[in-house]
Symmetry: C2
Subunit: 200 residues, 2 copies
């Protein structure tokens, strides 16, 4: 999302626009924790009454589910697109690049996903979907090992977790609309993931 | 902590041992969130009354502060030890190894640290201390770039964040006492950080 879009939303009718409600809810969940946030807190943040808010949302569970689906759907789409490429090596580099793009474009939703504790059926389902994604990427790392791109002295599962640890850390320090260009960042992540820090 | 120690603690007098109280509190904070956890919740989990619990602790703030100090103190000690080494390159490899050891040895405390939102003075102070640690490591990466170990086409700050993203992800998937050897893991993290995934 560009800075212009964010400003446009702020200039709109606060609390009366569904997109603005959802964005504010996700920000609030990330700020003070999903469990600790009530619909009343959200209404207060938006400056509307609870009953006005219920015209836009069914429940906080529904907001959580929608945000998690955006994050997971983005990651799954990036993986599906990467799988179109002919070699495992290209598929792996594409999925790393694609995941960075999803994390920078949907930072609040991915932050929510990464902080889940699995305290409800919605959270458990999202964690299950995230695990399935991880397994598909681990399989890709295994194929890239067989192809010779990835060194085979590393466990494919550990390698996947370390690289995604690097990618996922973006939610902690990447600021949407800030001074870091997301495409350049994707190339830097790829460089560190494939070549490491060491001078060649 | 070894499996034997954990079992020993569980066999002890539950709720009557300060160490057990602290460990249970940190586990509960990580499970359901610090804000969402009350002293009453902790008493219930321990199977004691709130007033019995107050013989062991002053407040939940004090438990949080102690746990964060263990995590940060561990990381700072690892960095201080690394700084004894003669070259920046050795200092950098030692601090990566040392940080992995702290994360595997103090996994629950570091998990708590990494999930802080800065909603109280204790949290703000811990985040400030964490930032100071990050700055010192970034300075080390910069020195390792000047020495020629680390490639200089990467921003030192970004490189530090990516490598610590990898290290910090351990709190999500490393299981104390599980099948992964912490020393071997430290070498794997170092291998990926310095040499990347790619076959040489």
């Amino acid at each position: 999302m560009s800075t212009t879009e964010a400003k446009g939303a702020r200039r709109g009718r606060p609390g009366h626009d569904r997109e603005h409600v959802l964005r504010t809810a996700v920000a609030l969940f990330n700020e003070q924790g999903y469990e600790a946030t009530s619909v009343a807190d959200l209404a207060q943040r938006l400056g509307v009454t609870k009953s006005a808010l219920y015209h836009h949302i069914d429940s906080k569970e529904q907001i959580l589910e929608g945000a998690l689906d955006e994050a997971l759907g983005g990651l799954e789409a990036a993986l599906d697109a990467a799988l179109e490429r002919p070699t495992a090596s290209e598929r792996l580099t594409d999925v790393i690049r694609g995941a960075v793009q999803v994390l920078t474009a949907k930072q609040p939703q991915v932050t929510l996903l990464l902080r889940l504790r699995g305290n409800s059926p919605i959270e458990t389902a999202a964690l299950e979907r995230r695990r399935a994604f991880d397994h598909r990427v681990t399989e890709l790392v295994r194929q890239a090992q067989a192809e010779g791109l990835v060194r085979d002295d590393l466990d494919a599962g550990t390698a996947t977790r370390l690289v995604f640890g690097m990618i996922n850390s973006l939610v902690e320090w990447y600021r949407p609309g800030g001074r870091i260009d997301p495409d350049l960042l994707a190339e830097e992540v790829l460089a560190v993931a494939l070549d490491g820090l060491q001078t060649r």
